[in-house]
Amino acid sequence: MKREMMFKLNGEAVNVEVESAWTLLYLLREILELTGTKLGCGYGECGACTVIMDGQAVNACLVPVLEAEGKNVTTIEGLVQPDGQLHPLQRTFIDHGAVQCGFCTPGMIMSAKALLDENQSPTDEEIKESIAGNLCRCTGYVKIIEAVKAASGR
């Protein structure tokens, strides 16, 4: 069943025709070609597809596309400023060596952003909780936690 759908993506209103059986992740990657959001497991286990929907971090692979209708969705592509300046989290991830292969990074940053948008000075425990749903097989998480802490201004 094809349907027209409106939603806000990275600050811009988007009108797109979708199939009701798609996931939000499929729409983002395959139709809108925003491939910053990754497909890892497809089961909500790895967090590589994390995006922010109405202020909350969600696994885009588990969101039926029509649930994004009328919602405000932010992906990793929406973080960079129009003049090309990086988001503080992107900056600190680079500065702290929190990126190795890079596959988990967009999801990690979106999870961390959802946390910092809600809580500007999180504790270490709160940072760990926020990225508990994001698997990283390279870094061992320490650098990532340091990067989030640095971006929080603590």
């Binding site: 069943m1 009701s20 497809g42 967090g47 649930e67």
Partner: protein, 320 residues
């Protein structure tokens, strides 16, 4: 690629009407963290999904009513839940990840009816009642009667779980849910144990001993000296049977007795005898039985700690 229709009704009436139109061949979906995975794994091939996310009737979260559509994240952040229904709060803090908890609902967790469902044991010890609604009326079911087997419940086709009713307990009551896992996050329990204890009073003289690292036998000695009595008890166990179960004999052995180390050891042995765990990838049966013994003891102590030291978190490092 699969094809299915997707509907987003705003009310229960509309949702039930849609299900009738599909002659009960559609599937209700709430947060989707189970349903979408089953579809991805091709275990479920629905003709249509009927989303319950926008149904406001399922969102009530006040006092003694918890709507089935309340997300685990909402439960986690709700101080009322933490204070009065601590076991449920424990489950909400430890299920999946934030991404999962932001969308997954308590009703969905119960209706999927996995033997490992984290919110099941807390609801069992809190004596929750489930309100089921259909086009022809509604009925109230005790949560203990709701589960039938793995993935099976008493929910009929064309029926929706609307909300849970939980009564408020006296302040001499404490509850806890202990999820025993390999990893600290994103894992299913090897064993899950929930305990609710009501004591005959809460002015316990040895309250500081609970925070000091004194041996359990010494603390239980204080309890005995003070004749601290267990007025009422509930013990529920997950992943030790085809469905989450109550340890009724263990509860009976605890009720009305003065707490002592010997009593708690007996109660935990009885709980083991009521469990019938299996070997699985997460743990072997013998190990699950051993952990039931340990965790029932620990759960009783933590529930008491919550009565005696209210408003304080249970220290994870204090293992009892």
């Amino acid at each position: 690629m699969l094809h299915y229709d997707y509907h987003k009704p705003d009310s229960l009436k509309e949702a039930l009407g849609l299900m009738a139109q599909y002659k009960d061949e559609a599937v209700f979906i709430a947060g989707g963290t189970d349903v979408m995975v089953q579809i991805e794994q091709r275990k479920l091939k629905p003709r249509a999904l009927i989303s319950l996310r926008n149904v406001v009737d399922l969102k009530r979260n006040e006092d003694t009513t918890i709507g089935a559509g309340v997300t685990l994240r909402e439960l986690q952040k709700n101080p009322m839940i933490q204070e009065h229904f601590s076991a449920l709060h424990d489950a909400a803090c430890n299920l999946g990840s934030i991404q999962i908890r932001n969308v997954a609902t308590i009703g969905g967790n119960i209706c999927t009816a996995a033997p490992s469902a984290d919110t099941a044991c807390p609801l069992l010890v809190l004596d929750a009642k489930a309100l089921l609604v259909s086009a022809t009326g509604e009925r109230e079911v005790d949560i203990d009667e709701f589960f039938v087997g793995p993935g099976k419940t008493v929910l009929r086709k064309g029926e929706i779980l609307k909300e849970f009713k939980i009564r408020r307990f006296t302040e001499n009551t404490g509850s806890v849910y202990i999820k025993h896992t390999r990893r600290a996050a994103m894992d299913l329990p090897i064993v899950g144990i929930a305990v609710r204890i009501t004591l005959n009073r809460n002015d316990v003289k040895c309250r500081d001993a609970l925070c000091a690292l004194e041996p359990i036998s010494k603390i239980m000695g204080y309890f005995e000296d003070e004749e601290l009595k267990c007025e009422d008890a509930r013990i529920a166990m997950g992943v030790v049977a085809p469905r989450p179960i109550r340890a009724r004999h263990a509860e009976a052995a605890l009720k009305g007795k003065v707490l002592s180390e010997k009593l708690i050891a007996e109660v935990s042995e009885i709980a083991v005898s009521e469990a019938s765990p299996r070997d699985s990838v997460r743990g072997e049966a013998w190990y699950r039985s051993e952990m039931v013994k340990v965790l029932v003891k620990r759960g009783i102590m933590k529930a008491i700690e919550r009565i005696v030291r209210p408003g304080e978190v249970v220290y994870p490092e204090r293992l009892w």
